[in-house]
Symmetry: C2
Amino acid sequence: MSRTLPHPTREQIELPLVLDCLSDPTRLAIVYQLAQQERVSSELCCGDFNGLAGKSNLTYHFAKLRDCGLMQTRVAGTNRFMRLRREDLEARFPGLLDAVLKSAAKDAERLQLVAECDVVETD
Amino acid sequence: MSRTLPHPTREQIELPLVLDCLSDPTRLAIVYQLAQQERVSSELCCGDFNGLAGKSNLTYHFAKLRDCGLMQTRVAGTNRFMRLRREDLEARFPGLLDAVLKSAAKDAERLQLVAECDVVETD
DNA sequence: TCGATAGTTAAATAAACATTGAACATAAGG
DNA sequence: CCTTATGTTCAATGTTTATTTAACTATCGA
């Protein structure tokens, strides 16, 4: 019934929680993917991450990312659209997100962040 | 008997491990304190962090910081001197450590990083 | 050689974490 | 209305984590 989800305010965003969130490979991949697609569209929905983990596991990671202030979730019909809270993060921790994203990009292979580009399903 | 401790090479430093290390408040405080004192002397020994946690707990955190490549430990007599692996981190993840340290500095109070400056013991 | 100092190791514990599967809820579309 | 597609919730699992206490090792200096 709840049309909106709880998010921390900008000021409530905490450094250790953000770092902890980014330290998990699955969540780092989510954030990375979100950042990659940003110039195309600033939002992605849950299903776009199905390659990274099972559905219910993703729900768990999305909640962590939302709770720590890394992303914003918008409910629309049966979909939840997410976007990075770039502005808030930049205001709170200048340069941090970019540094993490650049570092992740450098290690994309090692971290297995390389988007599978919607590989054709072989059913 | 081991005069030297094992450290990862520069190339072996992994982003998720580094972020995870920095996400713990105690370890973030250690790194912050290490960075603060850097212009005075690049090294500090275990005892300099006694305010942050118990001795054996510190040993645990030091090991994590060493294992992930954030700091270097040098054994000298009964002391172990630590320093940040700034160069290696900058080479691997440009701008990351500085961004974290600046973010931490902004939140120093909230994170209780404010060095107690060897407050006089009130016994 | 003795005692103090610096730090490690080991074992125990409680809490937090990531992952899974099954059941559920909600909305869109025929 | 019924079905399908999206995504959530809940409980169970096994793992990792941070912390504490106590016993230990090793070095320095008197």
